[in-house]
């Protein structure tokens, strides 16, 4: 349930940033200590979720870190090309 909201969190942010929200998808891969969130967007939207000097991706990771602290779980964001 808690993991679910983090997946939704990434999806929600990505959809707000891109031009083609229908092509946003997030897959959650549960590990023992870490949950990997694989984010896929349209190729033309990659720059939107990464940002200049990776700043947007870094901001999403910061938010995941804060959300993860609450759940005592680490989340890793992988942006897949």
């Amino acid at each position: 349930m808690a993991g679910m909201s983090i997946k939704d969190l990434v999806e929600e942010i990505a959809k707000a940033l891109v031009d083609i929200p229908e092509e946003v998808s997030v897959r959650e891969v549960q590990g023992e200590q870490v949950t990997v969130l694989e984010l896929r967007v349209a190729p033309s939207d990659l720059g939107k979720v990464i940002g200049k000097q990776g700043r947007t991706a870094r901001s999403i990771r910061t938010l995941l870190g804060a959300a993860g602290m609450k759940l005592n779980r680490r989340f890793t964001l992988e942006i897949l090309e």
Binding site: E12, I13, A16, L17, K48, T56, A66, A67
Partner: protein, 184 residues
């Protein structure tokens, strides 16, 4: 005064909807308020919309040099599709932290400039983001005996204060090669 680009009536609803949803999904206990109040330091920072946070998790927003606060600010501005040159027009704050930081930077700029004047040696600040570097440059713009410059490459770019006539120290011309992990 030129016309405002960002107003609560036009952009407020999108900002509110986005932030509310994200704070809820992230499980952060925070509330926020939008305002258009005038800046007490209009020379240094003059946002058109302020977003002020309060609540149990304010300490998390402010931890690590306001990392989370700046992350939320950045994501909100990207969500609105704001071009880079508009990024000073919306300012996120909690416990007046950003406001106090401006005071702190102004004070450091003046103190460092005094030191440069007496010692005739350059003073190098820690790396800062562009908004903070700008505040340092602005604080020194009426000091004829020193000049300030930004050196190095993001995200480790930093301000250096030189005595007015002293040339800049030679630096590497190319940005450092990207490596895995952090150097230094």
């Amino acid at each position: 005064m030129s016309k405002r680009k960002y107003t609560i009536s036009e952009h407020g609803p999108r900002i509110e909807a986005f932030l509310k949803r994200i704070l809820q999904l992230a499980g952060l206990k925070l509330t926020f308020e939008l305002s258009e109040e005038a800046s007490p330091h209009p020379d240094f920072e003059n946002p058109e919309i302020r977003v002020k946070f309060s609540g149990d998790d304010v300490s998390e927003l402010i931890a690590n040099k306001t990392e989370l606060l700046l992350a939320l600010e950045h994501l909100t501005m990207e969500m609105l599709g704001m071009p880079g040159e508009d990024h000073s027009l919306i300012c996120f704050d909690a416990n007046d932290h950003r406001m106090l930081r401006i005071e702190e930077l102004r004070f450091s700029a003046v103190t460092a400039a005094e030191r440069v004047k007496t010692t005739r040696t350059p003073f190098r600040f820690n790396p800062m983001n562009s908004r903070e570097r700008r505040i340092l440059h602005m604080a020194l713009r009426n000091e004829p005996e020193v000049r300030s410059e930004s050196e190095g490459f993001e995200p480790r770019r930093n301000v250096v204060i030189y005595p007015a006539g002293m040339p800049s120290s030679p630096r590497t011309a190319a940005p450092p090669v990207m490596r895995r992990g952090r150097r230094r």
